[in-house]
Symmetry: C2
Subunit: 516 residues, 2 copies
């Protein structure tokens, strides 16, 4: 196997499982392909119906064959029911060697492991949270896992790196001509943003709904132009209560609350916190606290921000409703309040995945973001971040918008406690490199704040007298001291089970099978 | 020159000016191409600006060269200022041999004749209303005029038959990152629907605005993903008062009012006028009266329609506001009331040109329409319609949605007085065939109603006892008698100056140069 070392120092094979690999070269340096996928032309004549009664009928009509690539959205997150339903049916129909390319895989999709073992699914292209990732770390997937950020996924679907043969779109509401939205119906999930690239670029699009409304449905997130069939089923396509996972509640831990307060101080020290300010944070406990504290500070300073960006949460919605942000741009809802707001508030604007974060477009919202606050499972002394593998090497998380927002935002902050259980979070070298350190400005921990010397905001933030700064090496040393030394090396086999793409399609790192 | 006769009996050359021509074969019979245009990939990095100060700078940055194809929208109709402005600048910069492919050309664009004569513009692809059409009929355009319906244009832009190098989008409101809408600002024009295919498929997209608002602008009709540059100018891009032309006022002529009442009776006789009914009509005087009378009848019958479709007018808006239709689907506004309604009423829904009428998509709104009422300059005994040339052979009108709605709607009605001045409207053979007779169900005139024997609604409507039916031949005879005989043949030269495409891209007819 031939290798190249990419600009973040990782050895990347030039080819894996027959797929040509391009090493990460730095921001804006990868060769720009000329054109996206040419969308498939369909012709629907007056009087032809799109309505089908069963998923089996839809699979048959779609022409799904061995070796094809299919997709789903994860807007129901832990409450998704459609993907398991369809894969079960595909397996029953004897179809195999499928590349599964949803926008994310969650613990609820653990039944897929069975179909991975049977060879129904041979490749997966997406972020993977939970048992399916663990199974891939153990070598169960015959082919390769390609992990991409949300923006990277949109790019790959549109550019054709991940050409979708058939997209299955769970639609909380649909009309019989294929206009879809996620805000109406008993099983509302909020935006359908992650499926917008699939709707536009998949060769065939099948909507599945249990809430069929008369044409034309209002609030159209994905329109009839892009939907070939509408399957009306009785069973729910997802359970909205599953959208709220353990990671979407505000923290009560005083240590984490202090980290959150320090993030707000760092943002203020950067000079960005002024009228027109824009902000994104995740749905983790610290992030939610940052959003809340930031709102309080904006109120004190009498600042109005231009936009908050979601994954939207009730914390972010409150800032919109208080007039602290003029708009929310939203690709994904993390709780019921966010879904309600998207439905009711015209200043809460649904966007597609490419609008959100596709670097191969005329411009994505992440690229005009001032600040983002993000988490990590590990960060190293070069500020490289790992959000995908745990310190034991197992694949347990997706990338989400981490890579996209940290690259796009002027100021990218990692907010983390220094230890996760008995594992140091600041380390010499991340197990898996999922966001390059050149995109990270600040690390805020419970043991001090480390500034990236390469950050444009280094000198300005450094002036803040109320903040306790450490070098990143000092944080690492403290972490190692607390746990009694550096972590043991993880026993990996040679076999590469996954690659981590940068949002531009080049490869940041590979993940190897964990030794038995 | 080799010719083929198409299924509507017109002799079509196999090639014109080096362009291969495919004769019309019937609905849904043309060979389906495999794929659309592969959109050009762009990459915009964080911090890069899109804002430019002059149109000249935008043209330079766009890389516009001799021989390229450019586009504009006509949402300002008679009030458009941008197209003349840009073409003047292009001419000044010495660029020539341009193919001009806007969504329509209006009388206000008469200055283009100058640039046609100079060879700045050598081909035009769009419907042409007024003096530019006349000039083309006189042979002034060096190349060819390709006339398409609104749906046909969307198809051709997306399929690449008319590949747009650079789209110039006049934006009543824009933010600096390229989110655009037509409902805000002093020069609001309503939807930007006709530019949606261009935004998605042009190699380069330039927005021009005199109303720049902070990011993110709300009401996003065309989003940042598709806009490469935003030019902020001081002069108005269009004059909204020019949107209302002479054709957009309700008729007061008792003869035309009777035609309108008879259209409503025909619709009722068809059995389609029941709950869930859908309807489109144009902005002509009779059409507006039909809309009003239809509303009155729906109120009497206590019927609620599913959707009215625009080109929207105040007449249609009133039906929405009275609850007679649940929704308006709208690709173009014909008056200020329509613009106001689109901005304020969430049930007034903006759609793109492909959603409206593109046959090469997974489904267009015209294809689920119950009824459409349309005009004509001529209709012949085979129910073939001419809307493009006058009886003297001059090109004076575009096709608009005529072909699309008549093909899509279950019931297509032509509503016309039997004479236009001294010209018979019902004739033996239309001067130019722009909508095939197979798509026309009924002709309603002031001298009686002719049913197409091939119409699915023939027997049902025929039963109506209060309607005065004639055969189409009887109407022709009456018309000829009234004017003292059939019209004289028009003196044409051999040279083909224009082709009329069917919405599927095949050719219905050609137009020849008028003899001097």
């Amino acid at each position: 196997m031939d290798y190249k070392v990419n600009v973040v120092g990782r050895k990347i094979p030039t080819e894996i499982v027959g797929k040509k690999i391009f090493p990460f070269m730095g921001i804006g340096r990868a060769q720009l392909p000329d054109r996206k996928v040419a969308p498939k032309i369909r012709r629907r004549l007056p009087g032809e119906t799109k309505l089908l009664a069963t998923i089996e009928e839809a699979i048959t009509k779609s022409g799904l064959k061995n070796g094809m690539t299919i997709s789903f959205h994860h807007h129901f997150r832990g409450g998704d029911k459609l993907m398991n339903m369809v894969i079960k049916k595909i397996a029953e129909m004897g179809i195999k060697d499928i590349t599964l390319a949803p926008s994310s895989i969650h613990p609820i999709h653990a039944p897929l492991i069975n179909y991975i073992e049977q060879g129904v699914i041979i490749n997966i292209q997406c972020g993977v949270t939970g048992p399916v990732g663990d199974a891939i770390s153990q070598g169960k997937l015959k082919g390769l896992l390609t992990v991409r950020s949300h923006g990277g996924r949109a790019r790959s679907v549109e550019d054709g790196d991940c050409h979708i043969d058939i997209a299955f779109i769970g639609a909380p509401t649909a009309d019989e001509f294929g206009n879809l939205n996620g805000v109406d119906g008993k099983q509302a999930c909020g935006p359908l943003g992650y499926m917008v690239p699939d709707a536009q670029y998949a060769d065939m699009v099948i909507a599945v709904t249990n809430n069929l409304v008369p044409f034309p449905c209002n609030n159209i997130s994905i329109n009839q132009n892009h939907v070939d069939y509408v399957v009306q089923i009785k069973d729910p396509i997802g359970d909205p209560t599953g959208i709220v996972s353990g990671t979407t509640r505000i923290t009560r831990d005083p240590v984490r609350l202090r980290i959150a307060r320090n993030c707000v101080s760092v943002i203020e020290a950067s000079g960005l916190l002024k009228d027109g300010f824009s902000f994104q944070s995740g749905a983790g406990g610290i992030s939610l606290a940052v959003t809340q504290f930031l709102g309080e500070r904006m109120l004190e300073l009498e600042i109005q921000g231009s936009f908050g960006m979601g994954g939207s949460t009730s914390a972010l919605v409150q800032l919109l409703e208080k007039g602290l942000f003029r708009r929310l741009l939203d690709v994904q809802a993390f709780d019921k309040e966010a879904i309600r707001s998207l439905k009711e508030n015209p200043n809460h604007i649904e966007i597609g995945a490419s609008q959100y974060a596709n670097i191969h477009s005329s411009g994505a919202a992440v690229d005009v973001l001032d600040t983002v606050v993000l988490g990590a499972t590990e960060i190293d002394v070069n500020f490289n971040v790992n959000v995908v593998t745990e310190s034991d090497g197992r694949i347990l998380h997706g990338i989400g918008g981490h890579q996209d927002t940290s690259e796009g935002a002027k100021l990218a902050i990692i907010a983390i406690p220094l230890l996760r259980g008995r594992n140091p979070v600041v380390v010499d070298n991340v197990t898996t490199l999922t966001t390059p350190g050149m995109n990270i400005d600040v690390v805020v921990t419970d043991y001090g704040i480390a500034l990236n010397p390469e950050s444009k905001y280094y000198r300005r933030i450094k002036r803040a007298e109320d903040l306790r700064f450490k070098t990143i090496e000092q944080l690492r040393d403290t972490a190692y001291t607390l746990v009694g030394g550096p972590p043991d090396p993880i026993p990996f086999d040679d076999r590469i089970v996954a690659i981590i793409e940068h949002r531009d399609g080049t490869v940041l790192d590979v993940i190897r099978k964990i030794s038995d």
